[in-house]
Amino acid sequence: MTRCQVNGEAVEFEVEAEMPLLWALRDQLGLTGTKFGCGIAQCGVCTIHLNGQPVRACVTPVAAAEGQRITTIEGLGGEHPVQAAWSALNVPQCGYCQSGQIMAAVALLERVPAPSDADIDLAMQGYLCRCGTYPRIRAAIKYAAELKAKERTE
């Protein structure tokens, strides 16, 4: 059994220690916002935060979460500046990759409040989108940075 915190709540995973967190979150907790795309850390659609750091849930065993803090897309609350920017610019097409994109962008903006194009390129290159929303993701990250800056000054 693995004990951890998921989106602020204490959780016990009653699954094999080597099961990837992705399946524990989706199939045991029903947190289906985190997606499956490749299973080998190539696409980023399964991205969650482990103690605030973006990690790929498809290759992170449940055991690694013992005593840790997990945040999934459901834990962002819906009104996070990154989500607001994504909505304002109509970023999603099919939307399947967007949970991972958003979790990556949230982590980037925590680290770099006003990222340059180069910062964004570096942070986002591991997150695939087959619908081709990359140009809007770039714009939305910049807009989210503005929204966050506004929040700070208010």
Binding site: K35, Q125, Y127, A139
Partner: protein
């Protein structure tokens, strides 16, 4: 069966039921052809699970007494925007307040069969084009019914009432009523045969960028994709599949995994074995451990290197070539191509110069971000499915035939799809999930593929080779013969419209563009009888033929000493609308502006899906380093339902096409696909994506398609740009095969390229 929408609007639905006011379910009584069309065809549903308090105007439209206007989108949301865009067409004619509209995903039903295609499907970028008039009619008819209900109630002439924001008003008496309060009475009225529709200038929702109803769910993780369906008592299935494309498993030993944790059942399905367990990870582990035997497949023995040789050798096989005489239906008025080669051959014989160009493209996988997935529940009396499918009608028929149940006992719910691109047209995974669910009757089973299975068991865009002979006179093209070799998609699908002695249009159509005015065009095709599963890949025929056709024009222009843009423009004098798109992109891209050495621009055009797309790509080539500076695109799709969504589709299509042009290829070794996941079949990544500039052309023409329209032109525009920059002709895709490597694009134009997006 489950409530028809509970799985997609769970909480809201419960609330609605609890708070429902009236207790009526009103079926529409449509009479006469027109009325039926405006109401939508009759539903073939036998279950009546509608909540109390819903006035049902048609399968497309229900208005609840608490004011929710529920509009079912007939086609499947794949990322192309129909979830918002189709309901909006109806809502505009209805004068609904957009805030009241709740789009609903469709289910397989006769009511959603398009009167134009006779099908219930999502394909061909046709959703808006084929449902536009029908949805307008339904909205307009319902609006008149609501007006009539109000006018009758108030005792005033209907003609004196008007509607806005989900309300009917009568100016003379100052009375006003909400649609919610009128809906139950209105839905009982006869459907008007010829409701008055708006003039385009009266549209309030069509043609604007308004709130998209799917975005909130997609940025919060709440959207229910196929993989996210969760039902009580649900089990999960993983597959064991053979190594060979299109292969089968001949035997397996269920006992070998019977004791693995969570395993519930093991059963044979089409093309594999399904292992059913209490979660997907356990199912997958057990499937991988299962001991199986494979039977030899028809693709066994096929290797990519020898397949390429065969494709090229087939181009010499005159006796096997069948002509493609069909008139291009998208360009009415263009002359039919001849069945007879003689005039073309005379033009070749008389030519000052004949160019002979050999080109080729590889097999391509779709790589939807969401792997194949379907959830099914089978009982002795019913079968219900939840599936991201592009073919609800055929999927439902397949489920009926597998279970032996009558069609009306099969309920097929369409979920949001994590991409489609033509892959979810196929019903292979849907069949497998019904077969798996039948092994554990009563319990829902979600069957999910791995990415490796998705890459290795796709229905690929076929590889093709072409030979194009171009007869040149002093200053123009005097004739063109283009021959294509490859597998026939229609043959693989056993398509009823495949005619012996005539080339499969999915191979041969538009191999030479009809729109260009030059004489003596002749297309033929040599079919290769391999049995590798092939299918529809975003933009289908044009995905390869735009590359072949537009590179050929470029090579002809160079041989003639003409500017490739000017030559095209001159050959488009009979098509001013198309020519305008070409002129627009040239202007926007600064076609004539001088460039430093090593830098070049390429241009290409494609017309399909009722739309016209032209692109200019600007690149630098430095030895083996390719830098793409900018892609400029001009697009005319007629009337746009939402310009912002059209922009999104243009960006997405260009990126999809560019990804394939650069690195898309599926290779075979002894009939098995070599590639397996994104590490060895890479797709375009964020940092590699160049700046994309899009110009949308204003038009009142009937709405055309946007979902596929920008895919085809990017590969030829890129190849032509590389030639302009370096003198190196790219005659084979992907570019990776030519040894060119993508350098990180220099971001010259800072900032957002999304014209028209909010804020």
């Amino acid at each position: 069966m489950s409530d028809r929408r509970s799985w997609q609007h769970g909480t809201r639905r419960t609330f609605l039921k609890a708070g429902a006011a009236g207790v009526f379910m009103l079926a529409l009584r449509a009479e006469g052809g027109i009325a039926t069309a405006y109401a939508g065809a009759e539903s073939d549903r036998t279950d009546s699970s509608d909540a109390a308090g819903d006035a049902r105007f048609s399968a497309f439209l229900e208005i609840s007494t608490d004011g929710e206007i529920r509009i079912t989108t007939p086609t499947s949301e794949l990322g192309q925007g129909v979830f918002s865009n189709l309901p909006r067409i109806l809502a505009d004619e209805l004068d609904a307040d957009w805030a009241d509209v709740v789009p609903v995903m469709p289910y397989a039903d006769a009511a959603f069969v398009s009167p134009i295609t006779g099908r219930h499907r999502t394909a061909n970028s046709e959703s808006v084009a084929i449902y536009y008039e029908q949805l307008r009619g339904i909205g307009a008819a319902a609006r008149e019914m609501l007006v009539f209900a109000a006018a009758t109630h108030w005792g005033v002439p209907a003609a004196e009432c008007h509607t806005t924001n989900s309300r009917v008003r009568h100016a003379g008496t100052g009375r006003e009523a909400t649609y919610a309060s009128l809906a139950l009475a209105a839905a009982e009225l006869p459907v008007p045969e010829e409701p008055r529709r708006k003039r385009p200038e009266q549209f309030t929702l069509i043609g604007r960028t308004i709130e998209r109803k799917d975005v909130a769910g997609k940025v919060t993780g709440q959207t229910v994709f196929g993989i996210d369906v969760r039902l009580p008592n649900m089990l999960f299935a993983a597959l064991r599949m053979p190594p060979t494309a299109g292969g089968e498993i001949s035997g397996f030993d269920a006992e070998s995994i019977r004791n693995m944790p969570g395993v519930v059942a093991v059963t044979a399905v089409d093309g594999g074995v399904a292992v059913i367990a209490d979660n997907f990870w356990r199912a997958r582990r057990a499937a991988e451990a299962l001991s199986v035997e494979f039977s030899p497949a028809s693709a066994s023995g096929l290797d990519s290197a020898t397949m390429r040789e065969s494709l090229h050798a087939a181009l010499d096989d005159d006796a096997a070539a069948v002509p493609f005489p069909e008139i291009d239906t998208q360009n009415v008025g263009s002359p039919p191509r001849p069945l007879d080669r003689s005039e073309m051959e005379q033009a070749m014989a008389a030519a000052r110069q004949v160019l002979t160009l050999d080109y080729e493209v590889p097999y391509l996988a779709h790589l939807t971000m969401e792997p194949m997935v379907c959830t099914a529940q089978v009982t002795d009396e019913t079968c219900e499915l939840w599936v991201p499918s592009q073919q609800p009608d055929r999927g439902r028929e397949a489920a009926a035939s597998i279970t032996g149940l009558p069609l009306h006992a099969v309920r097929l719910n369409i979920t949001q799809a994590g991409g489609g691109f033509g892959r979810k047209w196929e019903v292979d995974f849907l069949r497998q999930s019904v077969q798996a669910a039948a092994a554990v009757k009563g319990r829902p089973v979600q069957l999910l593929w791995t990415r490796e299975q998705d890459v290795q068991h796709d229905f690929y865009r076929p590889a093709f080779a072409t030979r194009t002979r171009i007869a040149l006179s002093d200053d123009r093209i005097a004739g063109m013969h283009s021959r294509i070799s490859g597998q026939s998609i229609w043959r693989f699908q056993a398509h009823p419209r495949l005619i012996p002695g005539m080339a499969d249009p999915t191979s041969a159509a538009l191999l030479i563009y009809d729109i260009y005015d030059f004489p003596n065009k002749y297309i033929d095709s040599v079919e290769i009888p391999w049995r590798i599963p092939v299918g529809l890949w975003r933009s289908v025929t044009l995905s390869q033929n735009s590359f072949f056709a537009e590179c050929a024009i470029d090579e002809a222009a160079v041989a003639l000493g003409r500017d490739p843009y000017a030559l095209r423009r001159d050959m488009l004098h009979a098509h001013p609308r198309i020519r305008h798109v070409l002129e627009t992109v040239a202007e926007r891209a600064g076609w004539h502006a001088p460039l430093p050495p090593g830098r070049g621009r390429g241009i290409a055009l494609s017309h399909g899906f009722g739309s016209i797309c032209a692109q200019v790509v600007e690149v630098s080539v430095n030895e083996d380093q390719l830098a793409i500076h900018r892609i400029t695109c001009a697009f005319d799709c007629g009337r746009k339902i939402d310009p912002d969504m059209v922009l999104a589709q243009m960006q997405g299509g260009i990126i999809y096409g560019l990804s394939a042009a650069l690195r898309g290829e599926i290779n075979f070794r002894n009939g098995a696909v070599i590639e397996s996941n994104f590490h060895d079949q890479p797709v375009l990544r964020f940092h590699e994506t160049p700046d994309i500039v899009i110009e949308l052309i204003e038009s009142d023409a009937p709405p055309g398609g946007a979902g596929e329209a920008s895919v085809p032109a990017v590969a030829p525009a890129l190849a032509n740009a590389i030639f302009a920059a370096s003198g190196k002709r790219i005659r084979r895709l992907p570019l990776a095969a030519s040894g060119l490597r993508l350098a990180q694009p220099a971001r010259e134009q800072r900032g957002e390229r999304v014209v028209g997006a909010r804020p």
